[in-house]
Symmetry: C2
Subunit: 218 residues, 2 copies
């Protein structure tokens, strides 16, 4: 399948690469937030822009083909650095780091001004973005990976920018369909609830459940 890669990077080297990736990812994230809320004069913006363009020119000296894809290393680790929610080297991603328990997956994270929709609130579509990812994780964790078939979000109240929590669990399965539910909550309580149906792809149906549940491990 195109976009999936297998690699053989020595474990210590991969760990170092991940530190470097996270470092530059976090630097660009800080720049993204600063760009949204800056109030400096035009001269300062132009000066900053020169430095930004110079950094881009360095990073563009060599690039991978089209997108990061998903890379499986020989030591068992998986890299999805380009993922819009979790990618450690994707500045669009917060990134959200998920944890898994017996019956649910969750994450606690913070969203800054670059995720705004209504003033001071998280964009409703960003809420959907996070929920799509956490519901998908719940499906993977239950041994039922798949692509989203349908996703429904019910918005109960505005989600203030800042700290929040998301969690998801499996409601039920019906054949190749897995029904997941989840929510996002802040200090104000539950802000949005979601239901998602995940369809197990043909290639996964032939794997046993133990192998399927390991697919999501980062």
């Amino acid at each position: 399948m195109s976009g999936y890669f297998t690699e053989e990077i020595p474990a210590e080297e991969l760990t170092r690469q991940m530190e470097v990736a996270r470092g530059v990812g976090d630097s660009v994230r800080a720049l993204v937030a600063a760009t949204v809320v800056t109030d400096v004069d035009e001269d300062d913006v132009i000066e900053a822009q020169r430095l930004i363009d110079a950094a881009t020119a360095i990073l563009e000296r060599r690039r991978i083909d089209s997108s990061f894809g998903i890379r499986f290393n020989s030591d068992g680790r998986q890299r999805n650095w380009g993922n819009a929610v979790e990618g450690i080297r994707n500045p669009v991603a917060p990134p959200v780091e998920f944890e898994a328990g017996d019956d649910r997956v969750w994450a606690e994270f913070s969203l800054g001004p670059q995720y705004e929709g209504p003033p001071g609130l998280v964009h409703g579509g960003v809420i959907a973005l996070i929920l799509d990812q956490v519901l998908g994780h719940a499906a993977v964790h239950a041994g039922a990976p798949g692509m989203t078939g349908t996703l429904s979000i019910r918005y109960r109240q505005g989600t203030k920018l800042g700290s929040m929590r998301t969690e998801a669990w499996i409601d039920r399965t019906e054949g190749v369909k897995t029904f997941a539910k989840g929510q996002i909550s802040t200090a104000d309580g539950i802000c949005a609830e979601a239901e998602g149906i995940f369809i197990m792809p043909r290639w996964a149906r032939e794997l046993d459940i133990d192998r399927r549940s390991r697919i999501g491990d980062a």
Copy 2:
């Protein structure tokens, strides 16, 4: 309402500010994409990171309060530079620029590697993010602004990263509820369809329909 501001910026100066804003926004967008797909050595990454951090330090010399909010200028223009889908100075946003016709709103745009979910495909949650915005625009264009009550996405096929089109229209209204529908399509056809219910806020119910339909004009 907090986060909404009225301003009196001379029209010519505001136009200049918008050019500067778009310029730095586009520069950071290019950096975001380069960060995702770079394949340069660690030394080059560290060098780029120094430039990035220096740019951030300049932009952080002065900042607005917490988030950009929505700003209404005395010349009738509205600024939502922090919006996660449309904000010209928000590097998380592509940005998507919408057009409006008699009975629908639409946009044509391109999504790069920073919006990846499954390898080579747009993240299902980014699909939801775009659809939430275009459905909301359809509601505003019809004179029925509101916050999203519910959003449902049906994913028909993967959306390849690259060029795509989105459109939305009003299906019907029931009292304070507006039912909008929309889709995202590529050269492969319709990739996702959405339905959204928008609830008109109390403050808007008291405005006449002409004033309500102007609220969304950028």
